[in-house]
């Protein structure tokens, strides 16, 4: 992997990022193969270690899953789903839950703090804690319920796709740690090609519904997952994730209207004054208006 420039493609609540567009940067992606994940949680440990995240006490949910969901101090979670295959057999579906690094990130669209959420030229979506105001709008905009509120700092936190490793040409910590090779990292094109190849293998081996999860509703993601059983909902993933319609409505429609209405009311008041002038009592009582 060649060194990735940390040019900013897009920043929240800003018109432009810092990217000049002179350099072309390949979009990166993480590849996850749910069919070869053994649920060993090496990726969870690697994530905690590399990002220096204090451990969160586990919560027993009746499975081997470490926590019920992602946490501000736990950005990588293997979800264990028990699935009845219908013929009396039980399949254990394991899926790596983390930030999907959408090409059209709902978190970035919803964020009101300029530059608090950035999308680098290589596609990685990151939170700049120094600019985050902890309003939680990003969590509202995220179709995957990923950003989490860190009580101690009042900031939002999530997977960075190990941008600090990627920028110096290393793969993310979880990929480095994975013992089965079910994780991989590279350009988006390469990872999609790898995923499609694996899907063909699975189909040839009886998994006729196998697919590569790269949801187009959010413009595709920089985390692509091979799902051997196909149906994303079996793995706890939304079938067709989109930035919530209401977030789009208030961000792109209601607020611009509001800004126009505010200036319109001020300009309207001036226009009114110039046309009608002040309303004053007539000079003499004789001019007192009849009802």
């Amino acid at each position: 992997m060649s060194e990735q420039a940390l040019d900013i493609k897009r920043a929240s609540a800003s018109v432009w990022g810092s990217r000049t567009g002179i350099r072309t940067t390949a979009t990166v992606a993480k590849y996850i193969d749910a069919s070869t994940c053994i649920g060993c949680k090496a990726c969870e440990v690697a994530c905690q270690e590399w990002n220096d995240l204090p451990i969160v006490p586990t919560e027993q949910t009746g499975t081997y899953q470490t926590l019920p969901g992602l946490h501000a101090q736990y950005w990588n979670l293997i979800r264990f789903q028990e699935h009845s295959t219908g013929d009396g057999e039980m399949a254990w579906l394991m899926r790596k839950d983390q930030c999907m690094h959408c090409a059209e990130p709902g978190c970035l669209a919803a964020c009101p703090a300029p530059g608090a959420i950035v999308q680098y030229a290589n596609g990685i979506v990151d939170v700049d804690a120094s600019k985050c105001i902890g309003c939680g709008y990003c969590a509202t905009g995220c179709p995957f319920d990923v950003p989490k509120f860190q009580e101690a700092s009042g900031k939002m936190a999530k997977c960075t796709l190990c941008v600090d490793r990627v920028e110096v040409g290393l793969e993310p910590a979880c990929v480095k740690a994975c013992p089965t090779g079910c994780l991989n990292f590279g350009t988006k094109d390469d990872m999609v090609a790898l995923g499609n190849h694996r899907v063909e293998q699975l189909k040839a081996n009886g998994f006729k519904d196998a697919l590569l999860y790269d949801p187009q509703g959010v413009g595709g993601t920089s985390v692509v997952t091979v799902l051997p059983l196909g149906n994303p909902q079996l793995y706890g993933l939304p079938a067709d994730p989109n930035v919530p319609v209401l977030v789009r409505v208030w961000k792109s429609f209601i607020r611009p209207i509001g800004v126009l209405a505010a200036f319109g009311a001020i300009i309207g008041s001036f226009m009114h004054y110039t046309k009608y002038g002040p309303k004053e009592p007539p000079d003499s009582d004789a001019g007192d208006r009849a009802a």
């Binding site: 009101p112 509202t140 977030v247 208030w250 509001g258 008041s269 009114h272 004054y273 007192d288």
Partner: protein
């Protein structure tokens, strides 16, 4: 002689300003001190909420964050300013409620009557009391908005304790309420200052001139002065 009368009258006005609807010389006390303090409590808390909320609302008003000490400070201040605004609004609601009963024929103030009023076409009707229909509409709107801001603001304040769908709806309703409120407040400030001279002093000094009262609120004027038409 006339100097003495003026001194007596001045002292009387100072004392009288503590009571509504009292004629002192050429002036009438429209808003006693308590009324004015409540009004300015609502206004002050509203503007703190406004200046801390608008930079979060859209980056176009991001410069307002500087007045609060930064966007992160605005995020901390805004909900508390909102709570203070709501508390002030509750006082305001019960303080004014008695004067705000709609009279027959005032329903038109929701639309056509407001427009003709803004063209300075309709003079005050004979029955015009202390407040006209437009002021009553504004009164209920502001207090309803205060409640809507509070109810929709709580899930926005503590986002992690509410579902994403509820937060989306609340942000939308908070926005719509704000837009209606902002436009109305701009109109309120305009009508209370430049558009209708002699009005602003009612909410600062508390008094208006007889001439102003007779012109804008003839019904109230006759009631206060006991003058026949």
């Amino acid at each position: 002689m006339s100097t003495v009368i003026h001194e007596v009258a001045d002292r009387a006005i100072v004392q009288a300003r503590a009571h509504d609807n009292i004629v002192v010389g050429d002036e009438i006390v429209r808003h006693r001190r308590a009324t004015r303090l409540i009004h300015w409590s609502v206004a002050l808390t509203f503007f703190v909420a406004l200046f801390s909320g608008m930079p979060i609302w859209t980056p176009i008003f991001g410069w307002m964050a500087a007045l609060m000490g930064g966007l992160d400070v605005a995020r901390v201040i805004h909900p508390w300013a909102g709570v203070a605004f709501f508390v002030a609004s509750v006082f305001q609601f019960f303080h004014w409620l008695g004067d705000m009963k709609f009279e027959p024929g005032e329903k038109g103030w929701f639309g056509p009557k407001l427009l003709s009023y803004m063209r300075w076409e309709t003079g005050p009707s004979e029955g015009e009391g202390k407040y006209n229909g437009g002021q009553k509409v504004f009164f209920y709107m502001v207090n309803l908005a205060a409640l809507a801001f509070l109810l929709t603001g709580i899930p926005m304040w503590f986002p992690m304790n509410f579902s994403s769908m509820l937060r989306q709806v609340c942000i939308l309703l908070h926005d719509i309420t704000f837009i209606l409120m902002l436009v109305s407040i701009i109109g309120h400030i305009y009508l209370g200052s430049a558009a209708e001279p002699g009005t602003f002093r009612a909410i600062t000094r508390g008094t208006v001139t007889r001439k102003w009262a007779k012109f804008h609120h003839p019904g109230w004027y006759r009631k206060v002065t006991g003058e026949k038409r």
